[in-house]
């Protein structure tokens, strides 16, 4: 389905005389079906409901999930049946007031009364009741021979930001108040019964495309042209390929038609690569057929196909090499950022502090127990014990890591709260051990390995901790515990006084990798972390 870009202002211009006889719904459907197949029923419904010669219902609801061609069909039908209409995209309106103003404006523009804006409330409109009055006035101001019906399309009206809860039902009343107006609400979610608080509003449903329809749509355009691929092979193999892609990738994930098309376009060159490269088909045959290509390219549907489903901001630069080991590539940890030494240390200690039960704090993070033998034994004991406890969890995580379909799946979000004191005590350990090294103390126990490669060189760290913590917070590696739940609503993220508890916002593996860079082995300090 080609996405045709319409502008909001591309509204129907009123013509003085209708040209030619009106089209019947059937004719409208047949003329539009060539461009947008498999939507005959909806086109016929809309065409008959909106026809300029038949009275329309005051309100009409069009609903269906995204990428089912609602808006495109609607625009096409309105253009074809030649009824005056104005379209407002609700997603472009920031507030309810903005929406009402926009409705008024687009209506005025379509009616050619833009110059007379001062008459209609000076272009201002803050209430739906006001809108009703103003709309009625401008519709009445039309020339007498043009007093036909007027269609107002509100696209994605259920996604309106800052909408008062009465907005939808109030808008639905507009058509009842103004007889010549037909309000058309386009929803992308399935409406609940009587959501407009009025009975018997006609609904036109746009269901998702079925398998047959989707394949039909894709096949209605030709296979992508490739150099070195004979047309004959292409036309023979492509239909099978498309249906295989649908069955394996698109159907199970409820993908939309544009997704389907882009996956086909991306995978097709790889799929027929053996033919293009002139490899000899197996089994003594001298020609590739679909089943042989499929057997050869099983991997495509397993790994690359799944990665093709996930949209990336930066598209994969090396699409051709099918020989690379896909598992090894995707299982690699993501590239690490280059945080300065001190920030990394703070992040690591924050992670440690949040992952150690409070009762074990004294064993793991006490200045006095860091080097003594008994404390080490105790630590080792706790590491083992907790490991046994969390073995089931660990296995589950292992499975998640091995699963190639989720290459970037985060580990379990850490919800443990860290208090300032545990963070600090975790931190104090590291500084205590390193100061021992810096001072050249004779005993360098195993615990001093903690930061041995790059000893901490700053004497007064207390003043620096909060500054670096603020930076980490700006990067959202650490988020305040209080606003963690309310992160979506409040964006006052950089204010200081949101409490003194934080959550680590990144996965443990990631922190571990980062900590290795500064010579800290996280597992050594984590209860149940040592394998």
């Amino acid at each position: 389905m080609p996405q045709v870009a319409f502008t909001t202002n591309s509204a129907y211009k009123i013509r003085s005389k209708p040209t030619g006889p009106p089209m019947l719904p059937k004719e409208v459907a047949s003329s539009l079906s060539t461009q947008w197949p498999c939507r005959d029923l909806q086109i016929r419904q809309l065409a008959s409901l909106l026809s300029p010669h038949v009275p329309s219902p005051p309100t009409l609801v069009v609903h269906g999930i995204s990428a089912t061609c609602k808006s495109t069909i609607l625009r096409a039908v309105l253009a074809t049946v030649e009824v005056p209409h104005a379209i407002v995209r609700s997603s472009e309106c920031i507030t309810g007031r903005h929406l009402l103003t926009k409705i008024l404006w687009n209506t005025l523009e379509t009616l050619g009364q833009k110059e007379e804006w001062e008459k209609s409330g000076k272009g201002r409109c803050e209430q739906v009741s006001g809108l009703a009055v103003l709309l009625e006035e401008c519709l009445a101001a039309r020339p007498v021979d043009n007093q036909g019906k007027f269609v107002l399309v509100l696209d994605e009206i259920d996604r309106q930001r800052e909408a008062p809860h009465t907005l939808l039902s109030a808008l639905a009343r507009l058509g009842e108040i103004i007889p010549s107006l037909c309000v058309l609400l386009v929803l992308s979610s399935t409406p609940r019964p009587l959501f407009l608080q009025s009975a018997a509003v006609p609904h036109v449903s746009f269901p998702p495309y079925t398998r047959k329809e989707a394949i039909h749509i894709i096949l209605s355009s030709d296979a992508p042209v490739l150099d070195g691929l004979p047309d004959e092979t292409s036309s023979r193999v492509y239909p099978y390929f498309v249906s295989t892609v649908y069955d394996s990738l698109v159907g199970p994930t409820a993908g939309s038609i544009p997704d389907f098309r882009s996956i086909c376009d991306r995978l097709w060159p790889r799929f027929v690569a053996p033919v293009v490269n002139g490899e000899t088909p197996p089994g003594g045959n001298d020609e590739w057929d679909f089943s042989r290509l499929l057997v050869k390219n099983r991997a495509i549907f397993r790994h690359q196909g799944e990665s093709a489903l996930v949209h990336r901001i930066v598209p994969d630069e090396t699409p051709a090499s099918a020989k690379r080991a896909p598992l090894a590539k995707t299982a690699m940890p993501s590239a690490l950022p280059s945080l300065p030494y001190f920030s990394t240390l703070i992040l690591t200690s924050a992670y440690l502090a949040s992952h150690t039960p409070q009762r074990l704090d004294t064993i793991f993070f006490s200045k006095f127990s860091s080097s003594s033998l008994s404390a080490r034994n105790k630590r080792a004991h706790h590491r083992r014990r907790l490991k046994v406890l969390s073995q089931a969890q660990a296995e589950e995580r292992q499975a998640a890591n091995d699963d190639p379909s989720t290459p970037n799946k985060k580990g379990k979000r850490t919800k443990t709260r860290i208090t300032k004191s545990t963070l600090s005590s975790a931190f104090a350990t590291s500084s205590a051990t390193t100061s021992a090294i810096g001072g050249g103390a004779g005993i360098a126990g195993p615990s001093t390995i903690l930061t041995a490669p790059t000893p901490l060189r700053v004497a007064a760290v207390a003043d620096r901790i909060y500054a670096e913590l603020a930076t980490l917070r700006r990067l959202r590696l650490v988020v305040p515990a209080a606003s963690h739940s309310a992160m979506a609503t409040s964006s006052g993220n950089t204010t200081a006084d949101a409490g003194d508890k934080w959550c680590v916002n990144v996965s443990g593996d990631w922190v571990g990798e980062l900590a290795k860079g500064i010579g800290v082995e996280v597992g050594e300090w984590l209860a149940g972390g040592l394998d």
């Binding site: 997603s91 930001r161 949209h311 590239a335 690490l336 104090a428 700053v458 007064a460 207390a462 700006r474």
Partner: protein, 697 residues
């Protein structure tokens, strides 16, 4: 030679203000003072005069105030001149560093459009790492380029500008319009429109603007993308997406962590709106290294940063988020403190002898530790006449000092050239770990480089180089060492290579390939003996060349890698005080407050002579309470605290102290501690206080 010695020598510690126990801060009163007219009515010309006057008196006379104004002025001017030169160099480096990314981003912005991105918003992801400031440099240059070619402009948005959708849109529109038309242009743009006044956040405004200007690319740069609220970002991007067919947006996201992390935090639906490319800005570390190298090793440098300063500078860069600009500010501060506080800095201005004679500068020079060392050396060498002259004859000293200064500065320059030589050689010989100029400089500045294992290994490795690599090395060395011998070696090598160009690279007699291990069995024991393999004639000749080069290198390095602290007058051209720099750029307010509370007599003058080991009633009440608080656990019973507090006063003033007065002191102290944020009411027990700060943590 430590900092204290230098302080003594320069008479810095005589300054009375340093011995004061406490400072009283008196904010200057603005506005309503009886004798001054309100600042509003002040004439412009008079302020200009005052500024000029201030400018002249920015530096204070040193040497106990005996320094004359001329020399103060000279110090100031020299500083200005020196720093402006260095600043230009730094700017050049910064621009050069950004140039690569800038062209990449610019071409991306020009080439991509809605169509090339499959209907997604074209997005440039720029990872900046810890080099945060580089993005704003990049953006301002990008903006300049786009405006100059009238293709469009850049709108920079920070997370602070984006508290909610409405304000964000308002800010974007305003920034886009003011960027080209100025603030008045924005006001005009809002008012001079046909039709009704639109709401400030209506993107129709931006659309209108884009149409008027004929903008082809409107780059919207989010400088700190991570700090944006994800929900807001999603809203904003979906809005852009729906306007994309009318307003040619390109989004540029600055990312400090990594692309994967950033992408993972956004909702899928938001990621699906974006498509683009990833750019990487060079790390701050590289940039800083280059700046440092240029500042120190440039042949016309007059003032150098010492070992302590260097290590402080690099510590800051590697440990914290620090931009190259911040680095250059620290260097500037170092230069400034040198010229501000060191009267000898006037020597760098190459003043007339009259200027030196008028001051007590001769006395200052004679008090230098390096002068003493210098004299001792002279005495050991024999002639005492010169030493006597220098000690007694001002004229002679004035005459000699600039000569020595010049000579020793030249030796410093040579030393840094040697550092560069070592650095270049290391690039050829060292395969695993790359030592950078800053590390080498720190070693050289402490006089350890010539004996360090790095240099020894380097020389050993240089012997085994084959002729191709050696040729490259010589070319690069030739640019640094201006020595006829080096040129001769290079020419000899060339002629040798020309004679045997077909036989591939030559190897010297020191490389592994040309030593042979012989195995002989003597009395049932195996004896290994190494011997030279037979070398071809050319190889022998090549070995000779290598020998000559190594000898040259060794002579050159031992000659020039001296300990700068041994140089006479190094106090004048080497700034090596760690303290002002460290305290200024890493202040420790918390430490200071804790110390003041715990041991108040460190700051306040004590009336009694008793050493204050413990709590006493003579201390301020807040401090007494704080010390008691330090002794307590995480939860403190208020009554216990009050008892202890009262006890302090009771013991000292045995004859009945007024407990109402003590009580009021106690409440005052308690509320002050609360204001500091060290205690708060506990929710667990009503009559308890919770401790919320620990000393030193």
């Amino acid at each position: 030679m430590d900092a204290d010695g230098l302080n003594d020598a320069l008479g810095l510690s005589n300054d009375k203000s340093q011995n004061l126990g406490a400072y009283i801060y008196q904010p200057s009163k603005h506005g309503k003072s009886a004798w001054e007219r309100p600042s509003k009515r002040r004439k412009v010309s008079s302020t200009a005069d005052r500024d000029e006057q201030l400018n002249r008196q920015r530096f204070v006379p040193l040497l106990n105030g005996d320094e004359n104004t001329e020399s103060v002025q000279l110090r100031h001017d020299t500083y200005r001149e020196l720093w402006s030169k260095q600043e230009n160099k730094i700017q050049d480096i910064l621009e050069d560093v950004d140039a690569g990314v800038l062209t990449d981003v610019l071409s991306f912005v020009r080439d991509t459009s809605l169509q090339t991105c499959d209907g997604c918003i074209p997005t440039a992801l720029v990872t900046v790492g810890s080099n945060v400031s580089s993005l704003s440099r990049l953006l301002s240059r990008l903006n300049g380029q786009l405006i100059s070619t009238e293709e469009g402009s850049v709108v920079v948005l920070e997370s602070g500008d984006a508290p909610n959708l409405k304000t964000t849109l308002k800010n974007i529109i305003r920034a886009a319009v003011t960027n080209t038309d100025g603030n008045d242009g924005y006001q005009k743009f809002l008012t001079d429109r046909a039709g009704p006044r639109l709401l400030g956040y209506d993107l129709d405004l931006l659309h209108d603007y884009v149409q008027r200007k004929g903008t082809k690319k409107l780059v919207l740069a989010l400088r700190d993308s991570e700090a944006f609220d994800p929900g807001l970002l999603t809203d904003l991007l979906s809005l852009f997406k729906s306007w994309l067919d009318r307003i040619p947006f390109t989004v540029l996201l600055g990312i400090s962590t990594s692309v994967e992390l950033f992408e993972g935090r956004l909702p899928r639906s938001c990621v699906a709106l974006l498509q683009g490319k990833h750019f990487e800005v060079q790390e701050a570390g590289n940039c800083v290294d280059r700046i440092y190298e240029t500042l120190q090793t440039d042949p016309d440098t007059n003032l150098w940063l010492g070992r302590n300063v260097t290590s402080t500078l690099f510590e800051n860069t590697s440990d914290y988020f620090q931009s190259p600009e911040a680095f250059s500010r620290m260097v500037k501060y170092a230069y400034m403190s040198h010229f501000f506080a060191n009267p000898l800095a006037v020597l760098l201005a190459k003043p007339d002898s009259t200027v030196i004679a008028q001051n007590k500068l001769c006395e200052a020079v004679r008090n230098l530790p390096s002068f003493r060392m210098f004299c001792e050396d002279l005495v050991e060498e024999g002639p005492t006449k010169q030493v006597r002259d220098m000690l007694e004859d001002d004229e002679y000293l004035i005459q000699e000092t600039p000569k020595y200064l010049e000579a020793n500065q030249q030796r410093m320059r040579n030393m840094f050239q040697a550092v560069r030589v070592v650095h270049v050689c290391l690039q050829y010989t060292q395969s695993t770990k790359k030592a950078n100029v800053s590390d080498l400089s720190v070693r050289a500045l402490s006089g350890e480089l010539s004996e360090s294992p790095i240099v020894e290994e380097m020389v050993a490795a240089a012997k085994t180089l084959d002729s191709d690599k050696l040729d490259e090395l010589l070319v690069r060395l030739g640019a640094i060492i201006n020595n006829p011998e080096a040129n001769a070696i290079q020419e000899d090598l060339r002629t040798l290579l020309e004679t045997c160009s077909e036989s591939g690279p030559l190897r010297s007699g020191y490389s592994i390939n040309s030593t042979v291990t012989k195995t002989t069995v003597v009395q049932q024991r195996i004896r290994l003996s190494k011997g030279q393999a037979d070398l071809s004639e050319q190889a022998v000749e090549y070995t000779n060349i290598v020998d000559r080069l190594v000898a040259l290198l060794q002579v050159h390095l031992t000659e020039s890698l001296i300990n700068p602290q041994d140089l006479f007058l190094h106090e004048a051209f080497l700034f090596d005080l760690r303290n002002p720099l460290k305290e200024t750029f890493a202040p420790r307010p918390r430490f200071a407050i804790e110390r003041a509370l715990a041991t108040p007599f460190d700051y306040l003058l004590s009336s009694s002579d008793v050493t204050m080991a413990k709590v006493s009633a003579k201390q301020p009440a807040t401090s007494i309470l704080y010390q008691l608080y330090l002794d307590s656990g995480a939860l403190v019973n208020v009554h216990d605290l009050w008892q202890a507090f009262y006890g302090v006063f009771e013991t000292e003033e045995a004859d009945g102290c007024d407990d109402r007065v003590v009580m009021s002191l106690f409440y005052g102290a308690l509320s002050e501690l609360k204001a500091f944020g060290v205690i708060k009411n506990s929710r667990k027990k009503t009559d308890h206080l919770a401790k919320s700060a620990w000393m030193g943590l």
